[in-house]
């Protein structure tokens, strides 16, 4: 007759607190506790939880990068999450991998958005496509990609921050994708949603709603150098099956790492 934590209210509450405080959210926390309640003690329950979480995060590996020339990566997300900074970091990774990269200033709305990305392109010494403020971002992206036809380079498209509750802005984003598909149905090769680790349950709504308008291929979670744990990623990966590609850990060009599910899960239970 084994003992189990199911009867131990204190351990259950401690596990619940750890998960809730990490922004997991109520529903998945209950699912996780239910899955591990037969564990004999807290230590083994945590080991079971880690396995459960890694299982959620490990999605089947996507195939190699498609051979399109150029290769197009588009970045989307709500306001202030770190899209523009992440693009600079990812362009730098491409350069370090020996690839050519160009930036597209697709935020034609926010004050100094084009200047901000331009400064990054100057620091990285890479080309940037830009247009006028108020121009249609779809037309800027279209021009950038068609002018780069046949080039062996990565093109990173910045877009304006937008709340998923703003239908017009969601449709503007959808149009960028639709217009690029006229050049090649494979475009954009990747659509990455940038999520801020300090945001709570709304991250789930963001991912779900953005997915309705554009086929997200990956997630970048930023600001994990803060104290937030980013637990909202689990319901998102579990339900939408979008892989986490990178995590942002600061404001500098090198403050980015490829996502490791083991490292991420171990940080939740130090």
């Amino acid at each position: 007759l084994g003992k189990s934590i199911a009867k131990d209210k204190i351990v259950i509450e401690e596990l619940e607190r750890t998960l809730i405080e990490a922004d997991f959210g109520v529903q998945i926390t209950m699912d996780i506790i239910e899955a591990v309640k037969k564990s004999p003690d807290k230590k083994s329950a945590i080991e079971e939880i880690k396995k459960y979480l890694i299982n959620i995060l490990e999605l089947p590996e996507k195939e190699e990068r498609s051979e399109t020339k150029p290769y197009v990566v588009m970045f989307v997300g709500v306001n202030g999450v770190g899209k523009t900074t992440t693009i600079a970091k990812m362009a730098n990774i491409e350069l370090k991998n020996g690839n050519d990269a160009s930036l597209v200033a697709g935020d034609t709305f926010r004050a100094a958005a084009i200047e901000q990305l331009t400064i990054w392109s100057e620091r990285l010494k890479i080309p940037i496509f830009k247009g006028e403020y108020g121009a249609d971002p779809a037309s800027i992206a279209y021009r950038a990609i068609s002018e780069s036809k046949g080039e062996n380079r990565i093109i990173l498209i910045d877009t304006a921050g937008r709340l998923h509750t703003n239908k017009n802005l969601m449709m503007e984003m959808e149009k960028i994708v639709r217009v690029l598909k006229k050049i090649d149905d494979k475009y954009p090769n990747e659509i990455l949603i940038v999520l801020d680790a300090s945001i709570g349950q709304n991250n789930i709504q963001q991912a779900k709603q953005f997915m309705v308008y554009v086929p997200l291929t990956g997630i970048v979670m930023t600001k994990l150098d803060g104290t937030a744990k980013g637990g909202s990623i689990f319901p998102i990966v579990r339900d939408l099956k979008i892989p986490v590609k990178y995590i942002g850990t600061g404001e500098g060009i090198d403050d980015i790492s490829p996502f490791s599910s083991e490292e991420f899960v171990n940080t939740l239970f130090p």
Binding site: E21, G25, V26, R110, S198, I199, G200, Q205, S232
Partner: protein, 290 residues
């Protein structure tokens, strides 16, 4: 909405005649989950539910005709009562009066600086915007463009030392006839000691009558740790919650106020400079309750 999510439990209550202590606890559990789903911090929820339980027991809810409705009303009233203490006006002292905006990266400080400047201009104040973020690429240019849009003054920094900017700008503003200075600062983590020290130095030389913590309305459980650290280090005078035009429930409002006891002065509701409004406790309360 809250009525619908609790209706299952409360409908069962109606057919019961008299509630047991256990029934009440089940109802409170539903409320606890609703608040956690709204991003209210775990400990803040615990404390809040205990307060509600005391009121509920006092109100003889166990014998009430419609206990479900009663408990929802108790929760709503309790939320409004707590958040109501959070409502206060902007405080101007000094000539010029200095307002400093501070907070985490990307929370909306620079945009809010413009909104606040425009808001105060409508109240006949003569405002100068001061760009003390000299590190983020394009930050000074961003505030400059916002100052033009808002039709307010703009301080041109002659150094990239934020403490020097904070020290000099109010003097220049005074000479140029401005009665209000809004200092925009670099986003910084509450756990970045060096940058928190920098902010302390800026406060020392600028002597702001308002140190406003600008927080993203969608912030999750970490809102408590973040706000507490800013408040303990800097003694903030108020909070501005941004991006409340989204569908985040806004539990961060309750978390931040509970832990700092500092007033929520304004709410950001969009990207335009006119998208700022007063903080209405009852509106935020019903939003948190979903």
């Amino acid at each position: 909405n809250i009525q619908n999510s609790f209706s299952k439990i409360f409908r069962k209550w109606r057919s019961k005649g008299k509630l047991t202590e256990e029934d009440l606890d089940r109802g409170l559990l539903e409320i606890k989950n609703a608040l956690l789903e709204a991003d209210v911090n775990y400990d803040v929820v615990k404390e809040f539910i205990e307060g509600v339980k005391e009121s509920a027991e006092g109100e003889e809810i166990l014998y009430a005709l419609n206990p479900g409705q009663m408990i929802v009303k108790i929760v709503f009233d309790e939320l409004v009562k707590i958040l109501g203490k959070a409502k206060k006006e902007i405080y101007f002292k000094g000539n010029p009066a200095v307002i400093m905006l501070l907070g985490l990266q990307g929370s909306g400080k620079t945009t809010t600086a413009g909104k606040l400047a425009r808001f105060l201009t409508k109240k006949n104040r003569k405002t100068m915007l001061v760009p003390a973020d000299t590190r983020r690429p394009g930050a000074v240019e961003q505030l400059k463009q916002i100052a033009e849009q808002a039709g307010v003054g703009f301080y041109k920094p002659d150094t990239d030392n934020p403490v020097e900017i904070a020290r000099k700008a109010p003097k220049v503003a005074y000479i140029e006839g401005y009665d209000t200075v809004i200092i925009d600062t670099q986003g910084r983590l509450h756990v970045d000691d060096k940058l928190m020290q920098e902010l302390k130095k800026m406060i020392k030389v600028a002597k702001p009558s308002e140190k406003l913590f600008v927080a993203d309305g969608m912030t999750g459980q970490d809102a408590v740790k973040i706000a507490e650290t800013f408040n303990n280090n800097l003694d903030i005078t108020g909070v501005i919650l941004t991006k409340m035009d989204g569908d985040a429930r806004g539990g961060a409002a309750l978390s931040i106020f509970s832990v700092t006891k500092k007033p929520i002065k304004l709410i950001g509701v969009g990207e335009k400079l006119s998208d700022i409004e007063q903080f209405y406790p009852d509106r935020i309360a019903s939003r948190i309750l979903g």
